[in-house]
Symmetry: C2
């Protein structure tokens, strides 16, 4: 398998460079990548040190490293671009066409990339995260009027990670409520949920997959038995159908995909805006 070293270089956190680089590297499945992030290259000395590291890698490995870069500051960018790597500058490639389209000069200012702390949207994301923690696993059900969406499903279908992702990434207020034997014995949703029917979104999962997950938590338990799991999933699905609750099977999809599917199907407004 071909191996190559890849650098993510930035005068900021490097998160944008990592995001861009990783989605591109994922298109080269036959290769293996060693990934090195060089964040906060905020002075010319640090830029020179970055060049030294990249050049050393090129020399030792005898192949050209790839450098995914996001520099807001021109002089730092130019300094790192001197390296013996394939230098792919994300801002450079797109800022020009955008300046033309907007008929506006870009600010080339650093520190704006990820929604600075002064942004309203930043505060909303932090508040949403605190909300998700306070409304996890069926606690604080009085607070459901604040929720943008309430995930329901049996234990270990992905409710908690999805709520936290929705909060941190999109600024969405997401609560979650676990469906348990108590609900299935009543054959009904609790009234606190029925009142907010339009906010409910159901998760389900393949029974055998869920069994594997639960076995890791509590082997040899009723909780992890295929009979119990099949019963719970069937009853949950009956409730989704009865109340017309949209649902998603989470077996083979990631938290990111679950989250953006929910955003799309529930027509949720992103609480995170660039401005």
């Amino acid at each position: 398998m071909k191996r190559r070293t890849v650098f993510f270089a930035s005068d900021q956190t490097g998160i944008t460079a990592e995001t861009l680089g990783r989605s591109l590297l994922a298109q080269f499945e036959s290769m293996q990548f060693r990934q090195v992030t060089l964040p906060f290259i905020s002075t010319l000395d640090k830029a020179k040190e970055a060049v030294r590291r990249i050049n050393l890698t090129a020399q030792v490995e005898g192949s050209t490293p790839v450098v995914f870069a996001t520099f807001a500051q021109r002089d730092l960018r130019d300094a790192v671009a001197q390296c013996n790597g394939l230098f792919l500058d994300f801002f450079d490639a797109f800022i020009g066409p955008l300046e033309q389209a907007f008929d506006t000069r870009s600010s080339h200012r650093s520190g704006r990339t990820h929604g600075g702390i002064a942004d309203e949207s930043y505060q909303r994301r932090i508040d949403a995260m605190n909300y998700a923690l306070a409304a996890d696993d069926g606690i604080n059900i009085r607070n459901y009027e604040k929720a943008d969406v309430i995930l329901i499903g049996v234990s270990r279908t992905g409710k908690t990670p999805t709520c936290l992702y929705l909060a941190l990434h999109y600024g969405i207020y997401a609560a979650n409520y676990p469906l348990t034997d108590e609900n299935f014995e009543n054959g009904d949703l609790p009234s606190s949920l029925k009142k907010v029917n339009s906010k409910l979104f159901g998760l389900t999962i393949d029974p055998e997959h869920l069994r594997q997950i639960r076995i890791e938590r509590r082997p040899d338990s009723r909780y992890a038995s295929i009979q119990q799991i099949s019963f719970e999933l069937r009853e949950a699905m009956a409730l989704y159908r009865r109340y017309g609750i949209p649902w998603l099977e989470t077996t083979n999809i990631s938290v990111e995909e679950i989250s953006s599917t929910i955003m799309d199907r529930m027509e949720l407004e992103r609480g995170v805006a660039a401005r």
Copy 2:
């Protein structure tokens, strides 16, 4: 203020297009953007519907919308590229140079962008998130040997959001421990923390800023008084110095910046690799 509509279009979640697009838009501070995400454009019919929406916007607003795109599938990309918007394709711009550098054809496969659920790194991120929840706010201190990093600091300095971000984004096992009057009366760290000294990272914050945050939670309390806050922050700092604990002031920086600074200063290995 100039306004413009911006679309994020993808045959996947659109998260990469959003992240990259937003960091570009942030360079145009004098403008205002309406942002619309068009995710899961997975068929030619959906591609045509996307084109219809983009063209309608162009017509109604009388200006050219910008379309940030990440398409793994060529035919869908080509269909959406027909729209009357400025079509900026993130993959297109860089895949060519990378294919050349790697001397390898890219797979143009969709669904790989965000670390599919089958990836080891995906499972690590979910495990890290469960760990962060289980080791939040000083609970489960017996589990500190598992931690990659343990954040310490007084109440409301940003410990919990940072731990969750480190977990979800980087797959880092991050615990956190709140420093309270009990610690300051002893004038010492608990032995459970001293044993893992090399994993500790301290957070601090401007006293007046912290007062504002605490007032929102508990107005007119000792907890929110400037005397108490100044005392706590001073004592916390004394502990950081005494034990040589690296620390960061979080007053004006975002969770993303706090997290990547910690990654950098603690030399933490990213648990998330593209392959």
